[in-house]
Amino acid sequence: MSTRIFGSGIKRREDPRLITGEARYTDDIKLPGVLHMAVVRSPYAHANIVGINSSAAEAMDGVVAVFTGEDVDLAGIPTAWLIPDSDLKTPEHPALAKGKVRYVGDGVAIVLAEDRYTAQDAADAVEVEYEELPVVVDPEAAAQDGAPQLFDDVENNIAFRWVMGDKAASDGVFNTADVVVRDKIVQQRLLPTAMEPRSAMAQYNSATQELTLWCTSQNPHIHRFIISAVTGLNENKVRVIAPEVGGGFGSKIPCYPDEALVSWAAIKLGQPVKWTETRSENYQITIHGRDHIQYVEMAASRDGKLLGVRATVYAGMGGYLSTAAPGIPTILHGLLYVGPYMMDSVYCESIGVMTNATPTDAYRGAGRPEATFLLERMVDMVAKRIDMDPAELRRKNLIPAFEDGYEVATTLIYDSGDYPAAFEKALGIAGYDDFRSQQAEARADGRYLGIGITAYTEMCGLGPSQVAGAVGFQGGLWESATVRVTPTGKVQALIGASPHGQGSETTLAQIIGDELGFPVEDIEVIHGDTTETPMGWGTYGSRTTPVTGAALAQASRKLKEKARVLAAHLMEAAVEDIEYDDGKFVVKGSPDNFQSIQDVALMAHLAWNMPEGMDPGFEESQFYDPPNFVYPFGTHIAIVEVDANTGDIELKRYIAVDDCGPQINPEIVAGQIHGGVVQGVAQALCEGVIYDDNGQLLTGTMMDYTVPRADMFPNFELGDTVTPSPHHPIGVKGVGETGTIASTPTVYNAVLDALAPFGVEGIDMPMTPAKVWQAIQSAGS
């Protein structure tokens, strides 16, 4: 039986423990003597703290201590993406507010108590006197003269102004183009809504001066880094463990005040301290995504050649700059302005603005959905203006197939792509040519069908460390991995990345199994503990399979070479005469004369008979720094029907043709695409944060904030093409975010196509029935 497992849709090994409730999350870990932390949070979006009286809280039975911002001597929570040439300001972010609160939920004091109920009762009993200040939530309004100022040292609330491209050249293109279309696009705030809320528990051993922090992290090594910096403990005295983590979608990348506060309190009180957020806190304080106001223009020739795109973006940062926040609406956004099209002129000015709202940061897709959306929106508007079929216009402008590098106007060098192939495949599945006549017939019956098409490519597998440095990311972007084989031939793969729901334990095991011939069930992938695993920068940006996967493939190849030499030695054959065949090292021409990989592993451990100069043991490590990003691509198509009486939208068909290179596990690829599409469609149709003018979150519970449900969706029709990445050891590209990146504009454009007979030009997302209905009424009048 072959152990070849690459490309096989085996079941996710993570699922049994997740489905049966056996998985152990941070909050499941119980330590004797643990204290529970509750945070007193500001009910105001912007206010001065006049006074805090905690005596009633401190007097309560079971309350151990109450601390305020004045008590807590932690360094500020750092921002770790310092984008260059943007006049970036990084205003101080104290773990607990000092003197002033800047959004609803900003921490003002912490209570440590013997149980969680008492902690909450005491938190409610802390009396805080506030002096309310004027509030600004809208990022564009916040950047205007006279707007309420969040920080003395951030003039007009502008934290950065990042420019990409040559303004004069761009103006030249737009001034002379036949056609210019423009729109104001609002990328509403979204709540990441990971199934597991955030949690953190810290334990300090004063004898060894070691701190252990269990927390919901996508990148425990980065958390260690930051916790070490804010507490002043040496990094080698801090151990961060991310046990089972129930989803993140970006929201568990940042280091938040809460993790720092449990660490500080555990050190201060000499007792373990735990904090687990409620869902209400999760919606209020865990980062939000998106929040762009975009003024976008596209230039084209009358015969349908796309000439350029330019945008001014106001990106809401919220009350503080979260860990990676400045990089999201800039580097991860503007660099994608060319998309899959031959277009020579790009210009972007992205203005990061502090607002009295929850901080924003990376949310699935992070900057790239916002770019793909504006591009695809503009392409549809150009098509309409020049009266060309939107599929035809895209077809005309797609970059032709390339196998090894294509440089675009944003300076990126796309690795490989065959956009036309994926495009035609998707149109074929959709039956595009027939659709237009069905649409016409339906309209004659008073039924409003619409179709939307998105051709996309995106940059992921973040990324070369040299690029990370050049764009101000305060870290590297390589990964490392160790493949360790036990004497009995079982594999432990230790990785620095930290998967949290993606199925990477399965796919990474498949990579190793495929390289070395171990049965996949004999391979364990171990992650999420800074003491047990080698350094890594974490799981985000669709990077674990491309980057960690490459490290594992290369470490496995090193082991295979060692095995070949040892096998030759053991069989007294020449190394050149040893052939590898499915887990066996066989003497050429003599198939019965072989050593299995397990035999070799044992002999390497016993070391009774090693070749000259070979060290014992069977373990290899690899650091892998990718030479470039990887660029998955594809085409998505949605068909919708709008009920003109109610504004209700039915998603009738959804076609996704994606190319992520060779698929290690097609079931997991499909799962990532399904989940991604669902989240992206939700942005178009139902998800959206609503704040009132006072900065109060109106969508603060799941009764108000509409996460998508299975019954909103048809069966997805998936297709693929396979274009390997030329620079990657196994050719794979990331697929964690493509669905989210492609689906929002697809559905949006489909709805506007359906509403074309009414002359509706645009609807702010989410396109709820009420807004769609209102748009129909307004356009009709």
Partner: protein
Amino acid sequence: MWPNKFDYQRAESIDQALELIGDEGKFLAGGHSLLPVMKLRLSAPEQLVDIGRIDSLRGISANGGLSIGATTTHAEIAASGDVQSMCAALASACGQVGDQAVRNFGTIGGNIAHADPASDPPTVLVACGATINIQGADGARSVAAQDFFADLFETDLEDGELITGISLPNCSDCQCAYVKFPHPASRYAIVGVAVCLKMDGDTCAQADVAVGGATVKAVKCAGAEAALAGSTLDDTALNAAADMVKADIEEWLAGDVAYPEAYRQQMAGVYLKRAVKAAAG
């Protein structure tokens, strides 16, 4: 999600429940409205009296009309053959409450006592002429559903009074239906419309109509009823009724940022037509 401190007691009988409930106490039925507001600390009763195990409060009986005990769950009502034949609209409304888990716990008594404007059952109870049976320290009384619902989360119920059940006339010779536009997040009604039609051949002899969700309480809609009665339920009558229903609910409209009053008012018209068509079959 950490409620304030409270005492918990389980009552074995109606009398005991009435005895135990103090000034600051609340009855606990399915807990699906009460516990969420307690966990959000929007409500902090000092004492809960659990009425969930009182046998005499639970169950459905049919003799002439329908009697439904207060702690009967939405799921039980939706699945009951008696309810389906004697008041199909109520079975349908209870079957559309929340999701299966909510229907397995939530009770009809708790639902109407809580009087969430976006609830489903009250709309049917008002349309179909139900009576709410109440017991207090001073004895029992009954109130017409239409008079029971007073305003947003406000009912005719006095502190310490217990809903024991509801009574419904036998509606098996009428055609009734409930249709709703569910909120995409909560599944509560953005608009819910109940109609109960008595047909005489092709002509509608009598129509009862109520609207909820769009309004602060379930509202009986006399204007729409008049527009339907005597008609053959043709498009002209339906359009007239849809216009009238918007006027009927005008003074009671409710809305929020995502689904404003004006939209809900329009949808009441659309859903009225759908409800009539569903009822007329």
